[in-house]
Assembly symmetry: C2
Homo-oligomer: 408 residues x 2
C-alpha cells in the first residue's frame, strides 16, 4: 500500500519470524488427511500482546483461553495453532482440550501457561482429536528464518489456496524495527464465511495497553473492512506480539514516532486483509471499493462494505458486467447519509454515474477492465470529507461448489 511515510519499507523476507527473536514451526499431526495442521510461534522473551476477537455470541474455546491468557499479564510468548478442527461448540470438553494444548505447549517451552495463546480453525462441533495434538506438539521444532515461518503459515490454512505473509521495516528512534504478519481466511468478504486468523509479530518495544490501542484502530481500517461487524465466525482472532528486542524507546501516543509505527502496523494488516479477500473461496478477482465524500470515515467504510458485500455486485464483477445500477443500489441501502442526486461512481478510471444518473461510457473498454484480476470501484457521495476502503472478491460457481460440499 502507499504511505506518506517514506521510511516504511516492505521487505522481501516477509515471514512471521522476520522481527528479532521469533521462531516458528509447522507440521502434519493428523487432524487433516495430508496437509500440515499444527503450528507454533515463539518469542525468545515474553512479548507484550494484544488481541481482537470475533463479536459472534458463540465463541470457540481456544479464543476464550487466549483472551484469558492475555488478560492475565498483557503478555504472550507463544501461539499454538491448529487447522482442521475449530474446537467450537464442543462444550466443557472443548475447554479442557484448549487448556491442554496451552499446558502442553508451555511445558514443552518451559514457560508459564498464561504466556501461551491458542487458536483453532476448521470444522465446527467435532471434538478435537487430542491424540494428534499430543503426539504433534512434542515434534514441533520452532526455528528462526524462512523455513519454520513458511511451515507455520501453511499449517494454519483451511480452504485457502495460498499462504499469506507480509513484513515491513521502519526506523523508530534511529532503530530499525520490523513488523511481520501471517493470516488465514478462505473467507469471502463477510467473514461469517470462514474463520479469519491473523498473527502479527514485531520487535518493537511497546506496552500491551498501547499495543491494544494501535491494533484496534488499525483493525477497523483493515481486517474489519473485509469484515462486517457481527458477521463473524466463532473463531476469528487477530493477535499481535511485541517483544521489544529492537530496543527502541517504548512506544506510546506521546512518542514522536507513534504515528509511523501505527501506519506500519496498518500496512501489515492491510496487506493481509487484501490477501484474504483476494483468496476468497472460489474468487477470481480482488475488488477494492474506495468511498470519498461521506459525512465520516466510519460512514465511508460502511458504504464501501455495503458495495463490496453485495452478492449482485460480486456476481456482476465475476461476469465482467459494468452493472453500476447494482453499485448504486448498494450505496443506497448502506444506511449512510446520502443525497441520491449527488452520487458519483467510477469503475476503474471510467465515470459511470454522475449526480446519481448514468453517464455514457465505453462498454468495450470496461469489459476489458473487468477482466483484470484487481477491480477498483470508486464512489463519491459529496456529503463531507469521510474516506474509507473495503476489500472483497467476486462470487463465482466455485464458491457454491466449495460450500455446498465442505463438511461432507
Amino acid at each position: 500500500m502507499t504511505t506518506v511515510y517514506p521510511s516504511i519499507k516492505r521487505i522481501s523476507g516477509n515471514n512471521i519470524a522476520s522481527p528479532l527473536g521469533y521462531r516458528a514451526a509447522g507440521l502434519h499431526c493428523g487432524i487433516k488427511h495430508k496437509k500440515n495442521d499444527l503450528a507454533l510461534l515463539v518469542s525468545d522473551v515474553p512479548a507484550h500482546a494484544a488481541g481482537v476477537y470475533t463479536t459472534n455470541a458463540v465463541q470457540a474455546a481456544p479464543l476464550i483461553v487466549t483472551k484469558e491468557a492475555i488478560d492475565q499479564s498483557g503478555m504472550l510468548q507463544a501461539m499454538i495453532v491448529n487447522s482442521g478442527n475449530a474446537n467450537a461448540c464442543t462444550g466443557k470438553q472443548g475447554f479442557v482440550d484448549a487448556k491442554t494444548m496451552q499446558q502442553m505447549t508451555a511445558e514443552k517451552l518451559g514457560i508459564a501457561p498464561h504466556l501461551v495463546g491458542v487458536a483453532s480453525t476448521g470444522v465446527i462441533g467435532e471434538k478435537m482429536p487430542m491424540n494428534c495434538i499430543k503426539t504433534g506438539i512434542p515434534r514441533l521444532e520452532p526455528a528462526p528464518g524462512l523455513k519454520g515461518s513458511i511451515e507455520f503459515s501453511q499449517s494454519i490454512l483451511t480452504t485457502d489456496t495460498v499462504s499469506k505473509n507480509t513484513a515491513y521495516k521502519v526506523d523508530i528512534d534511529g532503530k530499525s524495527i520490523t513488523i511481520a504478519g501471517t493470516a488465514k481466511g478462505s473467507g469471502m468478504i463477510h467473514p461469517n464465511m470462514a474463520t479469519m486468523l491473523g498473527f502479527v509479530t514485531t520487535d518493537a518495544a511497546i506496552e500491551s495497553y498501547h499495543l491494544h490501542h494501535a491494533l484496534t484502530s488499525v483493525v477497523d481500517r483493515t481486517f474489519n473492512s473485509i469484515t462486517v461487524d457481527g458477521d463473524t465466525s466463532t473463531n476469528d482472532m487477530v493477535i499481535v506480539m511485541a517483544n521489544g528486542l529492537a530496543q527502541n524507546d517504548a512506544l506510546s501516543p506521546a512518542h514522536p514516532d507513534w504515528k509511523v509505527f501505527v501506519q506500519t502496523l496498518l500496512c501489515v494488516c492491510e496487506d493481509l486483509g487484501k490477501m484474504i479477500a483476494k483468496d476468497g473461496e472460489g474468487a477470481t478477482k480482488l475488488i477494492e471499493v474506495e468511498v470519498m465524500g461521506a459525512v465520516s470515515d466510519a460512514e465511508a467504510r460502511s458504504i464501501a462494505k455495503s458495495v463490496v458485500g453485495s452478492p449482485l455486485v460480486k456476481t456482476a464483477v465475476f461476469g465482467c458486467d459494468a452493472n453500476w445500477g447494482r453499485i448504486l443500489a448498494a450505496v443506497g441501502y448502506s444506511g449512510a447519509t446520502l443525497d441520491p442526486n449527488a452520487i458519483m461512481i467510477k469503475i476503474g478510471d471510467a465515470t459511470v454515474v454522475e449526480d446519481g444518473e448514468p453517464v455514457a461510457f465505453s462498454e468495450e473498454e470496461l469489459l476489458e477492465y473487468l477482466k483484470q484480476p484487481e477491480i477498483k470501484l470508486k464512489v463519491d457521495v459529496h456529503q463531507g470529507d469521510g474516506h474509507g476502503l473495503a476489500w472483497g472478491c467476486d462470487l463465482t460457481y466455485d464458491y457454491v461448489q466449495i460450500n455446498a460440499s465442505y463438511r461432507t
Copy 2:
C-alpha cells in the same frame, strides 16, 4: 399457512380480481423482447389504499409518484405496472415519465390522476421507452375474472419463473369478504437482489388509516421476513387497495372482527412472501426458519433472518449437507440476546444441537430430508417467549449464472 381462525379459507379462484369490483389486464408493449410487460389493475370505485416502500435511500420515480398519490387522499382506483425497466436512477426525465404513465392511465379510465399508482421493475438507469408505454396503455382492457388477472400477474415478472397468486375468504359481520394478492420477486432472501412488488386487493370496507396500520404490522411478519430492512432495491413496494364493496361495517381495531381481518391479510402476504422465496433466482428449495424462545418476536425474526440469509447455510442446503455448525454460527452473529449453551437446533424433525452442542443424528435420514423441496429449520434459544419465522432459498450455481449475466 395454519391459522387459529377456522373461518379463514384459502380459495381456488386465487386471482387479484377475486374480490368484488376489481378488473385486471396485462399485455406485451415492447419493453421486453417477447414477454408481457405492461399491466393494469382497476377497482370499479375508488378504494382506500396503503403502501409500504423500500427503505433504500435511492428510490425510483414511480415509487415516489405512488407515495404522493396515496398521500393526497388515502385512495387509489388503479395501478399501472410495467416490467423490463425500473425507471430508477433516471433523473428528472424519470419523474416526467412516471407522471405521464399515471396521467395516461387516468385519462383512459376517466379518473383523477392521484387515484392512479405506478410501479416499475427491471433494469436500472435506462430511460423508460415511453413509445412502448404510450402505445400499450390504450390497448389495456381490464376485465373481471381469471384471464385478466393471469395476464396481470404475468406482466409484472422479471426473472421470476412462475407467477405468484393467492386469495382468501373470511366472514366479517356475517358478510363474506375476499382478500387476494399477486407479487413478483425473483429475489433471494435479501431483496437487495431484485425488486419485490406486491399488490393486494380486498372488497372489505376499511379506512386508509387503519388499512395502513394493518398492512405495516403484517408486512413485518411476511414480506419483511424475506427482507432484511435496509437491504432493499430502489423499487420495492407493497400496495393494498380496499374498495368496500363487501359492505361490512368499516374495519378498525375497535371492530370485533379486526383480528381475523388482519390474520387473513397475513395469510395472503405470507403466501406471497413464501412464493417469492421459493422462486428465488436459481433456487431449488424453499427454506423456512422458525425461531422460538427469543426475548421478543422481533429478536426471533432477526435470528430467523440471520440464519436464512447466511450464504453458508444456503449453500449447505443446496448441497444437502446437515451443516448445523453454520446454522449455529448464524444464530450467533444475529445480534440477538443469547446463551450459547442453551441453543437447540432442529433440521426437519431431527434435533442436531442441544444445549449448544451437537447431538447424534442419522446423516442418512437427514440427507434424504434435505433432498425435499421445502426445508424447515427450527431454533429454540430458550431466553423467553419470542417467536418468529423467515423464509429463503438455497444458493446455487444457477444464482451465479443468472446474476453474472443479467444486464448484458
